[in-house]
Symmetry: C2
């Protein structure tokens, strides 16, 4: 298909397309704040859907912002798209160079909370759907666009909707996931899955009150107990040691391993960016590092505390100590199973003084075969537009409700989007490059064709 | 010697002796606050010293409250006494049933900050010295009373004074230490030493910024590093594992071990008091528990922190984490040597990302032979007064500047005092029982005789 007219439209309307994204970014749709901006954002986005010629249903939720279901087009294939109109809180505000909800272009980048995660993708995709019809003709496939307003607070209502609407969702032949970015070398990254996640608190309690540390040789100490328990969970080189957990990991397929072999990984560049003192855990590099990073389960201490943490010293034996952990899960490990294995692991070792508290509902892992239509179609769409060829990750190292929305209905998923290597999502000075936003429109135009072919 | 007249004096002047202690407790001599109360307390105590017939020198200190040196009496023997007129801060104030600096008698107990640590002993001893001379005659020995005003903040100036005044201090044949208490069964406890102490912070730094926990399988994590480092320092049953540290511990003498065999230790009572879930570390009991508690070195986590510690979860890899530790040291382990061994231990295991920061000057361990004159004289003095026979601890499990004041000059030391099992020193609602305070006066009267004999 010849996209000359499509591309000319994008060029000629670049300023207008950017204003549309700016207008969306100006709405402070922080789902955690539950304010009136949520309804405003839902209205704005449903207007965009309707402008794109999609039949749009605003589905109210009992205790949250509405879900938008937009459909249109005709053809043998059905493409699902998933986005969200909510954003992370903007704090710490003092670190922003321009106010988070006053979108500002500096040096070719649009700075705003939500610009990269994921309003640029939402605006780009809806714009592309509209432009396709104005410049190329009718949509060559059926579109099922699912847009929620509480991705950043846990997608609670989406889960229920997905479970109750199997007939609607399972007609999709593939799904384009919410967002993605280019890497440090400006290669567009396509991801074919997410890890699951289980987040827990470990609470150690060894006594009814703190005691004088003169008794440290004989009294139990909650901080020591926590250290001892944590130490059994992971080897210093980063391998999960929770009894039986690895037995539930499906080995990567040859096709997934082949993807790893093609991925660039500049350990030294990562080391510089994050100021890592001693490189990766266990000296991992190359395919070994990629495999651990993308395909294997992990256990991470997110935080820990106990006893006296003020200035100077206090000669005390803490009676309580706690840690927050997240476990990232690979297929077929579910959060429930991981929680059960963790509890059994600790109980088996006598840590009955440590309570494992589930922080919130976990997420299941999801993975799409590299040969799946959606993976191939996204790759071809990007290849035909982007200056550099894409790289394909067999999974993202992060998590999201991919299994809950798509996996349970057998819909394969690929992620790609308008972000760049320093988009700083969830952080101050989040941005997208204007050129990447316009490129994402062109990519989405192609995908409507490549997925329909 | 017949103490009938002495004891009758105490009985007849009980109210006045109590008022004296109340007046001292009314002065809020919190050394950490460095307020005008310090000079007021020093004046009050030096007046008590002079009333007791002692030649009293107020030795100003360059940046702290004055040291008091009070001397008197004549005879072949010289008894040193060590006390302090400063107290711990009173907070948390809201937990006090009566204001900490408005001494209040309830149910036979005087409640005030500093009542037990150690104003009752200070007032009792000075009162006894005065009463002895009024009722029994001239002092049968030389007294060297050393009273400082910054014990609760680290005794900095005392150390210098002790180092520079060897000729004065080394004439003492023994020293009665600042305070002591009765145990749960109302047996007066005599302690013949203290453990040394080293307090350090461990700072783990693994990256220049926190990172997303999706990278947890390959990125170093300061909290994990801290857990791994801490885990090498102590066995779960409480034994110190720092390389070479135990090589510097002098084995207990047969006389010290014999004392252990005579000590009562009601593990279940301790377990109830502190709500210990699983008894003592490693199931220790009897002589084994006493030996660990009183004679062996320990390493205790006083506090630790790192990463996200707020409500809910945050999927972060902490770049920094830290722990506060204290090591209690047995002879002949010095704080400097323990610090060096700890640093070498960590370096040897590759923990170059963990910095060991010395919190403040440590204290050396000190121990007195059970056959020493001061130990025998204190035991005899208590036996002749107290309703229950004393128990003798070969060392206290706590620490104090005993070596720095006495040990370096070869002066043997014993501790005993007016506290009771629930005196709550350093805590809200500190108290002494009025009867114990009066008994401490009678004990001190006897000691002037037993030590001179």
């Amino acid at each position: 298909m010849d996209f000359q007219r499509f591309d000319r439209y994008v060029d000629q309307h670049a300023a207008e397309l950017l204003s549309r994204l700016e207008a969306l970014c100006r709405i402070p749709s922080v789902s955690a704040e539950k304010g009136p901006a949520m309804a405003k954002a839902a209205d704005f986005v449903s207007d965009l859907c309707r402008s794109a010629g999609l039949a749009t249903e605003v589905v109210p939720q009992p205790a949250g912002p509405p879900l938008l279901i937009a459909q249109g087009g005709a053809g043998p294939r059905c493409l699902m798209i998933y986005n969200h109109y909510d954003v992370q809180p903007a704090d710490p505000l003092e670190l922003w160079l321009s106010p988070p909800f006053e979108p500002t272009v500096r040096d070719g980048k649009l700075y705003a909370r939500g610009a990269a995660d994921n309003k640029a993708d939402l605006a780009a995709r809806l714009s592309a759907i509209q432009i396709f019809q104005e410049t190329m003709g009718p949509l060559p496939l059926r579109l099922l666009y699912v847009i929620e307003g509480e991705e950043e607070t846990g997608s609670q209502h989406l889960f229920r909707f997905a479970a109750e609407n199997g007939a609607l969702l399972s007609q999709a032949d593939g799904c384009l996931w919410e967002f993605g970015s280019k890497d440090e070398a400006d290669r567009p990254v396509i991801s074919l899955g997410v890890k699951g996640i289980l987040a827990v608190d470990l609470h150690a309690r060894t006594a009814s009150s703190d005691a004088h540390s003169g008794n440290g040789g004989i009294f139990p100490n909650a901080a020591w107990r926590l250290v001892e328990a944590l130490h059994t969970l992971r080897s210093p080189d980063g391998q999960v040691l929770i009894d039986g957990l690895l037995d539930h990991i499906r080995p990567p397929t040859p096709a997934q391993l082949a993807l790893l072999a093609e991925l660039p990984l500049d350990v030294e560049a990562v080391q510089r960016t994050y100021g890592l003192r001693n490189g990766f855990l266990g000296g991992l590099k190359g395919v070994d590092a990629l495999r651990r990073w993308l395909l294997e389960p992990t256990v991470t201490i997110n935080g820990m505390w106990g006893g006296y943490t003020g200035p100077g010293g206090k000669t005390v034996i803490p009676a309580q100590a706690a840690a927050k952990l997240d476990l990232r899960l690979a297929p077929d490990l579910t959060p429930d199973l991981a929680l059960q294995l963790l509890r059994e692991h600790l109980r088996r070792r006598g840590f009955d003084d440590i309570e494992v508290v589930d922080q919130q509902d976990g997420l299941l892992p999801a993975r799409t075969d590299p040969d799946a239509l959606i993976a191939q179609a996204v790759t071809r769409a990007i290849r035909s537009v982007s200056a550099r060829p894409p790289v394909v990750f067999p999974s993202s190292p992060g998590s999201g409700p991919m299994h809950e929305l798509c996996g349970i209905h057998g819909v394969p998923v690929a992620s790609a989007g308008a972000g760049w290597a320093n988009s700083f999502i969830h952080a101050p000075n989040e941005s997208v490059r204007v050129a990447d936003y316009l490129e994402a429109i062109r990519v989405m135009g192609r995908l409507l064709a490549t997925f329909a072919e």
